[in-house]
């Protein structure tokens, strides 16, 4: 039985997605364009404000409901990657921002007047070794001067605000390397080409992402989130939400691939019978379904823990690992089932195949999840 929890959210998001069919996504992919109309419709429907508390103009829902929104977008053949940043970037502001910051930004983010879609953490020379990052923010009076470089900053041309992690105390002067990093809320609109330069990176999918350079970018001290020096801790908090939401997107992809493959296998007749009558064709599809369903259980476990404010690093990471693996395997099976037609853009399979492949790599690579589980769950020695 297919997962029918939160049915009214599913129905509503599905209804909205019918206005953006496969020809819409194919056109965007061909033109490497941003799904502006789709993101606007989602925002106007209040869907991207699911996690914002009602007092700030959002729906005040939990991660479970938010994850259903993204799952359904992908399950309908779309790509949540164009807007999921808003869902998880919000958490940083929500959990660690001051009351003044929340009052200033959240109602506008909820209404769609402002977008908070980007996060600048990763650097080209440090990768996941986040505590070694080299971008600095030095306080000068009532502002900070930011210098350095970031990479894989997504949706920067389609956001007003960006979360930035920079070192405020040099590594040599802190007791623990995880100290001395701080988070800033950067107003991108005023900063582009005034200390902030962005260079788009062409890539395998229609996912808009950039290299970003900071040269004496001025950020008001009032935009420091939480306490100076505690940014690393804050960032880690937000990542569990991100992992779980991405897991849900993969679940959505997984169902899409299984449905698409099943339909094709049932309808495609070769040698006078549907190809799906062959076990060599039907077993891999059945196996994909099993894997997606199993991964979905871990996704719900992570959602439940997160919404109960219990530790969920282990479950969020494992959910993302399992779901990304299941969706990728389902993608491969779906492509194989379609044979040559799987490579034709009009079937959407090759596009979704490329899109879901990203989640083995981003926002955290599969190996680093295994390393997290080995070290932090099983207590094995740190491998790096």
């Amino acid at each position: 039985m297919r997962d029918a929890s939160y049915q009214e959210i599913r129905d509503s998001v599905r209804a909205l997605c019918t206005g953006f069919d496969s020809s819409y996504w194919q056109r965007l992919d061909r033109e490497s364009a941003y799904p502006e109309e789709f993101v606007r419709a989602l925002t106007e429907g209040g869907w991207l404000a699911a996690l914002i508390p009602q007092e700030y103009g959002g729906a005040g829902l939990g991660l479970a409901e938010a994850s259903v929104v993204l799952e359904e977008i992908n399950r309908c053949g779309g790509n949540s990657g164009a807007c999921h940043g808003q869902m998880y970037n919000m958490g940083t502001l929500l959990r660690h921002g001051s009351e003044a910051q929340k009052r200033r930004y959240l109602p506008k983010v909820a209404s769609g007047e402002l977008r908070l879609q980007s996060m600048a953490v990763t650097e080209p020379t440090t990768g996941t070794n986040t505590t070694k990052l080299k971008t600095t923010a030095v306080r000068k009076g009532d502002r900070y001067l930011v210098n350095g470089q970031k990479v894989w900053v997504s949706r920067l041309q389609h956001t007003d605000l960006m979360i930035l992690l920079a070192r405020t105390t040099p590594l040599a002067e802190v007791k623990r390397k995880s100290e001395g990093l701080s988070i800033f809320l950067v107003d991108v609109r005023g900063a582009l080409n005034r200390g902030l330069t962005a260079r788009p990176i062409r890539n395998m999918v229609n996912h808009e992402t950039n290299e970003v350079f900071f040269e004496d970018l001025e950020v008001p001290a009032a935009n420091l989130i939480g306490e100076e020096g505690k940014g690393f801790k804050y960032i880690l908090d937000g990542l569990n939400a991100e992992r779980t939401l991405i897991a849900a997107e993969c679940i959505g992809d997984g169902y899409w691939f299984v449905d698409k493959a099943t339909r094709y296998a049932r309808d495609r007749v070769v040698f006078d019978r549907p190809i799906g009558q062959n076990q060599g064709v039907q077993f891999p599809i059945a196996e994909s379904y099993v894997e997606v369903e199993a991964a979905n259980l871990m996704r719900w476990k992570a959602c439940r823990l997160f919404d109960a404010h219990e530790p969920c690093g282990e479950e969020a990471n494992m959910a993302k690992y399992l779901a990304a693996k299941a969706s990728w395997e389902a993608a491969n099976v779906c492509l194989q089932t379609h044979g040559g037609f799987g490579f034709a853009a009009e079937f959407d399979v090759e596009r979704k195949f490329r899109e879901t492949r990203l989640y083995q790599v981003a926002p955290i690579s599969t190996n680093l999840i295994l390393s997290y589980v080995a070290e932090h769950v099983l207590g094995l020695p740190r491998s790096f």
Partner: protein, 266 residues
């Protein structure tokens, strides 16, 4: 101004419908349900009229099992103010529905009743007309609009029904052969709506949240003193004949000959 709209719980038109082996009805297990699409257009029109003529209220009424509260809730999530469910588990024919609605309308005293022109499950297309007859009210059926669904008027969510300045009557354009006929009916009136009146909105997340708190009043046929024993009896339900494979003809002459002699279409 008070506007009452009706919403019927119907089988989702995307579901695969199977006939029960005893041919008494369709198999209902595993079938998804939704609000009748024509009724959604009625709700949308009611909301547009309400918002253009505040203060107004939109009430959504359904006749059906307890589960039909879901379809009322979807009308509330679109923006309607409150709901009424006339709860009855067994089959109610269109006449029974019309008699129940008559009682509800007499209690609620709306200025305007908007209904889908028919429900997509049994396609009767009589309930609206019967309600008007039982109430002795005027009616306009198959309301459509002059502007297309791609027009700026539709994009601006303007009502297709034109309420007079004194709010004593409403104009409805209805689709007839070869064009549109415009009727003006005095209020209170029953208007049934056609497909091209508007494009219903999607429920937004904040409205779905609000809808959970909106009241749904429950009534029963007994409470309304209406006997809903069906006057219409379904004798037999049959699936349409399965499509058979086509044939290939060698040339145009044979095609024409077959269309004439066998298919008898030319």
């Amino acid at each position: 101004m008070k506007i009452l709209t009706t919403v019927k719980r119907v089988e989702d038109y995307e579901s695969k419908i199977k006939v029960r082996p005893d041919q008494t009805w369709i198999v209902t297990e595993g079938v998804n349900y939704r609000a009748n699409p024509f009724d959604e257009i009625a709700v949308e029109e009611a909301l547009r009229l309400r918002d253009a003529n505040m203060p107004s209220e939109v009430v959504v009424v359904s006749v059906g099992p307890a589960a039909a509260a879901t379809e009322i809730r979807s009308g509330l999530a679109m923006g309607a103010d409150r709901g009424i469910l006339v709860k009855h588990d067994a089959f109610v024919d269109s006449d029974g529905v019309a008699r129940l609605l008559q009682k509800v309308i007499e209690q609620e005293k709306p200025d305007l009743v908007l209904m889908g022109k028919q429900a997509v499950d049994v396609d009767d297309n009589v309930a609206g007309q019967l309600v008007a007859e039982y109430l002795g009210w005027g009616q306009a059926t198959f309301a459509s609009k002059k502007e297309s669904l791609e027009s700026p008027e539709e994009k601006a969510k303007k009502p297709g029904l034109k309420l007079s300045a004194d709010k004593k009557s409403v104009q409805a354009a209805r689709e007839v052969d070869g064009g549109l006929e415009v009727l003006e009916v005095q209020l209170p009136a029953i208007v049934t709506v056609d497909l091209r009146l508007n494009v219903p909105r999607y429920a937004s997340l904040p409205n779905i949240m609000k809808a959970k708190k909106k009241p749904i009043q429950e009534l029963t046929p007994q409470g309304l003193s209406v006997d809903v024993t069906p006057k219409v009896k379904v004798l037999k339900v049959e699936p349409p004949p399965a499509r058979t494979a086509g044939i290939k003809v060698p040339d145009v002459a044979t095609l024409v000959q077959k269309l004439h002699a066998e298919a008898k279409v030319i």
